[in-house]
């Protein structure tokens, strides 16, 4: 058998979101993935396992999600561009290593194809109830970056962005898909490799005696090294100084964690990304992300046909949250309507950002199916009165 395929599958493809996510990871240069089978995410690593030998790299199915989520951290320090893929219960098991990757500033990507929960929940049906878990799931304080694609095309495009953001900020990035987006098949246009912007890892050029693995650049982000290059560096999940050495005191803790939080919080304006439809003249703005944003847009268009000036704001990057934009909109809106497949997660962020300037309501859904556009329309109508 001849190995098939180039790293970048340039051309017009007809792919589901899971497959497109895998292609995005490959296009971004991912050469290591570890995973544990779990619906509805497994197709991503199945495709990776099939594609990677020909283009150079490794896939290993691990014994559980704990193993998968730290194998990628190990692989990253070995020089790989690595990611893992999971859903629901597996995402819960990975929480510790999201914290570990944050603390050790390991650039890597965690893909969560959200399904209905809690617990085993609805393994093959959509949910969006892991959004706060993506933000806060590991113990301790940290900031995270999370993206939310709403189509197979975006599963490709944003997967590349996820890897680039991981490198840029030396941080784990959450790729928050949902079953609906993961399992729907649509046209995906993959550009030529030379048109895809891939951010290389920023390895230090300093000699070992001068290098400190956790000494920040002016932007707050340290340069990387990998094992085997003579740096003889140390890294730990313990609170550590710039050398990576444990230091059990509050001053070091404050300096470190303040920087970990700050390196993302202070660059929020660069990271935040929203898509807006009809917001220029809207009096009702619907806030939705992932698959829900598509259904919400349908409802917005239905409302417009009825003469209601509705618009849509979709956080493409969910964390950091686009609070500034929400605050601006809240100043001139009649009402904000949040639509998400949970019983209120980003809703509270929207409410907080709106700061009481405007009524904010939630159209919740427990998952297992997407919202009916009519349900959203009904709330838009109510809000418009």
């Amino acid at each position: 058998m001849k190995p098939k395929g180039d790293r970048v599958l340039t051309g017009t493809q007809f792919l589901d979101g899971d497959q497109a996510c895998c292609e995005g990871a490959l296009a971004a240069g991912a050469n290591f993935a570890a995973g544990y089978p779990i619906s509805p995410s497994t197709e991503i690593v199945e495709r990776f396992a099939s594609r990677i030998p020909a283009v150079g790299g490794v896939f290993l199915q691990m014994e559980d999600e704990l193993a998968a989520s730290i194998a990628i951290v190990g692989a990253t320090w070995g020089g790989a561009k690595a990611f893992t893929v999971t859903s629901g219960p597996g995402f819960s098991l990975m929480m510790e290593h999201i914290g570990y990757a944050s603390m050790t500033e390991t650039p890597c990507v965690f893909v969560d194809v959200q399904r209905g929960g809690p617990s085993t929940g609805l393994p093959t049906l959509p949910g969006q109830a892991d959004m706060m878990q993506a933000r806060w799931g590991s113990h301790g304080d940290y900031e995270i970056i999370a993206l939310s694609p709403n189509s197979p095309q975006e599963c490709f495009d944003l997967a590349i962005d996820a890897f680039n953001l991981a490198e840029q900020y030396r941080t784990p990035v959450m790729f928050m898909m949902d079953e609906s987006v993961g399992h729907m098949t649509e046209k995906v246009v993959i550009p030529p490799a030379n048109e895809i912007k891939v951010l290389p890892r920023r390895y230090t050029r300093l000699p070992p005696v001068e290098y400190r693995p956790f000494r920040p650049s002016p932007e707050g982000i340290p340069e990387m090294v990998k094992a085997g290059e003579g740096y003889r560096f140390h890294m730990t999940g313990l609170t550590h100084d710039e050398r990576g050495y444990p230091a059990m005191d509050w001053q070091v803790q404050d300096k470190l964690v303040r920087r970990l939080v700050g390196k993302i919080r202070d660059h929020a304006a660069d990271i935040v990304r929203c898509e807006e439809k009809h917001t220029f003249d809207a009096e009702i703005v619907v806030v939705a992300y992932g698959i829900t944003s598509r259904v919400a847009l349908k409802a917005v268009e239905m409302a417009r046909e009825e003469g209601i000036r509705a618009g849509l704001l979709r956080p493409v990057v969910v964390w950091p949250f686009p609070e500034k934009r929400i605050r601006e909109l809240a100043g001139r809106m009649k009402s904000l309507v949040v639509v998400e497949m949970n019983y209120g997660q980003l809703f509270y962020e929207v409410e907080r950002a709106a700061g009481g300037r405007v009524p904010t309501s939630l159209v919740s859904h427990g998952g297992g199916a997407v919202h009916e556009p009519e349900t959203i329309l009904a709330e838009i109508r109510r809000a418009a009165q």
Binding site: T12, Q13, F14, D16, S39, P40, P123, T124, L125, E179, S180, H183, M184, T185, E186, K187, I291, R294, V295, L297, K298, E301, A369, V370, P373
Partner: protein
């Protein structure tokens, strides 16, 4: 109405998903339509029933799931029992006539049968009945152009089986035109305008059967 909702259903092993992928890829990549394809997953998808859904539209598909089918293609009795009620009153039913007994008269005027398994066997491989059904669906509904469907078949079938699958496609297409040729004009007037126009698209990809 500028979108057509299609469901293809049968039992495992009939190539239902591949049939959907061929139509979806054809309409999306080669006809330039917006297409969203969904399928059932999980334990229920591994049993005997199997279905794939497509929304083919002139505009981006926002709501990705079928509300009611404009076109229902069934290859098993069970699929017919399960999904016939979800077909629009003026929708089109396409069925494998040796495997499905169409009961009721609801779709009498818009029900089109084909002995797809038998036709596939004539070509030497029962397994290619899905390609026969794709040809039949293309001919009757015009949801995709034959040229686009042929391209998609070449893309998707296992290497070395192109010719066989294309022959099966042509057989299904011709069967439809031969048996229902006169009815198709009526039919294509009644299926949503969108689907109909796809057969005779103005962008140069003529009906090349």
């Amino acid at each position: 109405m500028n979108s057509t909702e299609i469901r293809i259903a049968g039992f495992g092993g009939q190539g239902v998903i591949l049939a959907g992928m061929i139509l979806g890829r054809a309409a999306s990549i080669y006809d330039g339509k917006y297409v969203t394809l969904t399928q059932s997953f999980g334990p229920e998808a591994r049993g005997s029933a199997c279905s794939v859904q497509l929304i083919v539209s002139q505009q981006p598909v926002l709501y990705p799931y079928l509300t009611r089918a404009d076109i229902l293609v069934v290859m098993s009795q069970e699929a017919h029992e399960r999904f016939a009620a979800g077909l629009m009153p003026d929708g089109v039913l396409l069925y494998e006539e040796d495997l499905v007994r169409v009961n009721g008269t609801a779709h009498a005027g818009k029900a089109f049968g084909i002995p797809a398994t038998h036709l596939a066997e004539e070509l030497g491989r029962k397994l290619i009945l899905n390609a026969v059904m794709v040809g039949f669906t293309t001919g009757i509904t015009g949801v995709t152009s034959p040229k686009a469907a042929r391209n998609a078949i070449r893309d998707l079938v296992p290497p070395g089986t192109d010719a066989l699958n294309l022959a099966a496609f042509d057989k299904g297409l011709e069967f439809g035109l031969n048996r229902y040729g006169s009815a198709i004009q009526t039919q294509q007037a009644t299926v949503p305008e969108e689907a109909s126009s796809m057969t005779f698209r103005a962008n140069g990809s003529k009906h090349d059967s």
